[in-house]
């Protein structure tokens, strides 16, 4: 499906004459844009099947699957993946509770400090990643904690917690506060209200926030590279291979991730579409 067909007229807005020319321009632009977006992916993918020893598509040495085998036998990469997953799980475990707490406080705190608190809690998002890595490293040094998976996890959680918090905040802002009041009015205790009303309401967001936290953790380089010490994650391993001996095994990883994402995204879209149809049917 090309961008052009995607943008095909569907609403009357774009049937107007004056809009038509603008739409042609917009469509052409979208096509160029999506080429820009996907060309690297294509190159990346092709290079994963090239028998040449370095990632390349111009030095074509024939199709091969050997890099897939090589990946399976690459203990460092596999270990890196395990480490990444470990760190990712740690990040979820740390950032979700932090994000939730921050969000609860910010939605309920009626004080002029609210703005300040908000500023502080979102600041990690607005801070360059390397600075978070550096400050974490320097900070924990004072407690004799050297760089490693733990520090990488802490450094990442610092800003990922902020992302989670924003998601929870957005959700909480859409919460109808009268629900909690209604529950209280019906005689429920505050813990009961939290368990039966607030948490279930947040549950989908907690799930998405966890997934996003995990993905951000896996993907992170700038922060991790400073805090990882002698250990490594998948990404820092790739990073250090840039400094030493890049092979198309790296591309294979890329291809696998792309395929996984497309599958996940397609499933998501199908589910959503079905949901939408179901809702329309009602």
């Amino acid at each position: 499906m090309t961008a052009a067909t995607l943008a095909a007229p569907a609403t009357p807005v774009r049937r107007t004459r004056e809009g038509r020319w603008a739409n042609v321009v917009l469509n052409v632009y979208m096509v160029i844009f999506f080429i820009y977006l996907f060309a690297p992916l294509l190159v990346m993918t092709l290079a994963a099947f090239n028998a040449y020893d370095y990632p390349s598509v111009t030095q074509w040495r024939g199709w091969t699957l050997k890099w897939f085998d090589a990946l399976a036998g690459d203990t460092r990469i596999l270990q890196g993946l395990r480490n990444s997953i470990l760190v990712g799980i740690g990040v979820i475990a740390v950032s979700i509770p932090l994000g939730l707490s921050g969000a609860f406080i910010l939605t309920r705190l009626q004080s002029r400090w609210n703005g300040v608190l908000y500023g502080v809690l979102v600041s990690p998002i607005l801070t360059p990643g390397i600075i978070l890595g550096i400050s974490t490293l320097i900070f924990w040094r004072n407690f004799q904690v050297p760089g490693g998976l733990f520090l990488a996890m802490m450094a990442q959680a610092t800003f990922i917690a902020s992302y989670s918090m924003l998601m929870f905040l957005a959700r909480l802002q859409r919460q109808d506060r009268s629900l909690e009041e209604a529950a209280l009015d019906l005689g429920a205790s505050s813990v009961h209200v939290f368990r039966r009303i607030t948490l279930p309401f947040l549950a989908p967001t907690i799930f998405t926030a966890a997934v996003i936290a995990f993905l951000q953790s896996i993907e992170n380089y700038n922060t991790t590279v400073f805090a990882i010490g002698g250990n490594w994650t998948l990404v820092t391993e790739i990073g250090s291979r840039f400094r030493f001996g890049l092979s198309p095994v790296i591309n294979v990883i890329g291809v696998i991730f792309v395929v996984l994402t497309i599958i996940a995204a397609t499933v998501y879209v199908i589910l959503k579409e079905r949901d939408r149809k179901a809702r329309m049917a009602r």
Partner: protein, 344 residues
């Protein structure tokens, strides 16, 4: 706080407050303060005397090694020589001072002209990348938010997200493969006949900052598209129609209706993009192969991991942080958005 206790009870509230304080202090504020502290002192450099002592010790070691292999006859001479040197060392060691920690602003003030230039250039380039990304992303955000059908919009969204499945490093590396001397683009141009690779005629994309811009805009598209998309999505299509009905041409509709509406999103997108590109380490590192100018982040990295000068590194990092903060405030001022608007 009262509202919090009333809704969640005392126990839960305590947990929330404790966690938030831990996060705020232990992970955000105090580490930054430690970094700042680190940037405020230096250790006096080792003196020439220390160097001299080191070298004398090495001489002894060499003599001792030689002594093992030497004929017995030569050994006394060597030993004499060793003891001479040891005396000399003793004398020098008396003069040697242990390095001291000195609090000073010199880590900031001593930024060399070169580093300052790199710094300024980085900020300038980051601003340029931001503008570029804005120009590239606005039409896309608009198309997805306002023009496409919900179905098409979902697919477009997917198209935007999929490239982000692969890591930033790989994404950028892919651009290297495209823009290189024997990259896809030059090979294509060679095939077309514009360049001649065999004769070493090629377009040196990589040798100009353009390649960094291309890759960096690419790397951060999402961070620009999403905030703008989010605001444009809330723009009532009727407003666009109303503007058109009142006779406005497309450009004026954007200028007067769509862009003003998207302002908070544009501000957030610009802040994110600027912050990411000013602090980007991987993109310039990979895209230039170190040939064209450094970005400040590379300089910081080198202070930490090459020059082994954490203190200067911390000072540089803090400087970068300050600029980012200033940029954020500037954007908030220009676009008249509050911190709260960054929540999306």
């Amino acid at each position: 706080m009262g509202a919090l206790v009333r809704t969640y009870g005392r126990g839960l509230t305590t947990v929330f407050v404790a966690l938030t304080v831990l996060w705020m202090l232990g992970m955000i504020i105090v580490p930054q303060l430690f970094m700042v502290e680190r940037s405020l002192w230096t250790r006096q450099e080792t003196s020439q005397i220390t160097l001299q002592i080191d070298r004398l010790y090495n001489e002894i070691s060499t003599l001792q090694f030689d002594a093992q292999a030497a004929a017995d006859a030569d050994k006394p001479a060597i030993e004499d020589r060793i003891s001479d040197i040891e005396e000399e060392i003793a004398e020098l060691e008396a003069q040697e001072k242990a390095p001291q920690r000195v609090y000073t602003l010199s880590n900031y003030t001593r930024m060399s002209g070169l580093h300052l230039r790199i710094f300024v250039r980085t900020i300038f380039y980051a601003a340029l990348v931001t503008v570029l990304a804005l120009v590239v992303c606005y039409p896309i955000a608009f198309a997805v938010a306002q023009v496409a059908t919900p179905r098409a919009a979902a697919f477009l969204m997917l198209g935007l997200i999929v490239p982000y499945a692969i890591n930033e490093l790989l994404r950028v590396y892919a651009w290297l493969m495209i823009l290189d001397y024997q990259g896809v683009l030059n090979t294509f141009l060679d095939w077309v006949g514009i360049t001649n690779l065999a004769a070493k005629q090629w377009i040196p994309f990589l040798e100009s900052p353009v390649s960094v811009f291309v890759a960096m805009v690419y790397a951060y598209i999402l961070f620009m598209v999403f905030p703008i998309y989010n605001t444009l999505e809330t723009l009532d299509r009727n407003q666009l129609e109303a503007a058109r009905d009142l006779g406005a041409p497309t450009w004026r509709i954007h200028l007067r209706v769509a862009i003003p509406h998207a302002k908070p999103g544009i501000a957030v997108g610009c802040i994110m993009t600027f912050m990411l590109s000013a602090g980007s380490y991987a993109v310039p590192q990979i895209m230039t192969r170190g040939t064209s100018g450094d970005w400040f982040s590379q300089t910081i990295y080198r202070q930490f991991f090459e020059s082994n000068n954490w203190n200067v590194g911390a000072a540089y990092a803090f400087t970068l942080l300050v600029v980012c903060i200033v940029f954020i405030f500037l954007m908030m001022l220009i676009f008249r958005v509050g911190v709260r608007d960054i929540a999306r």
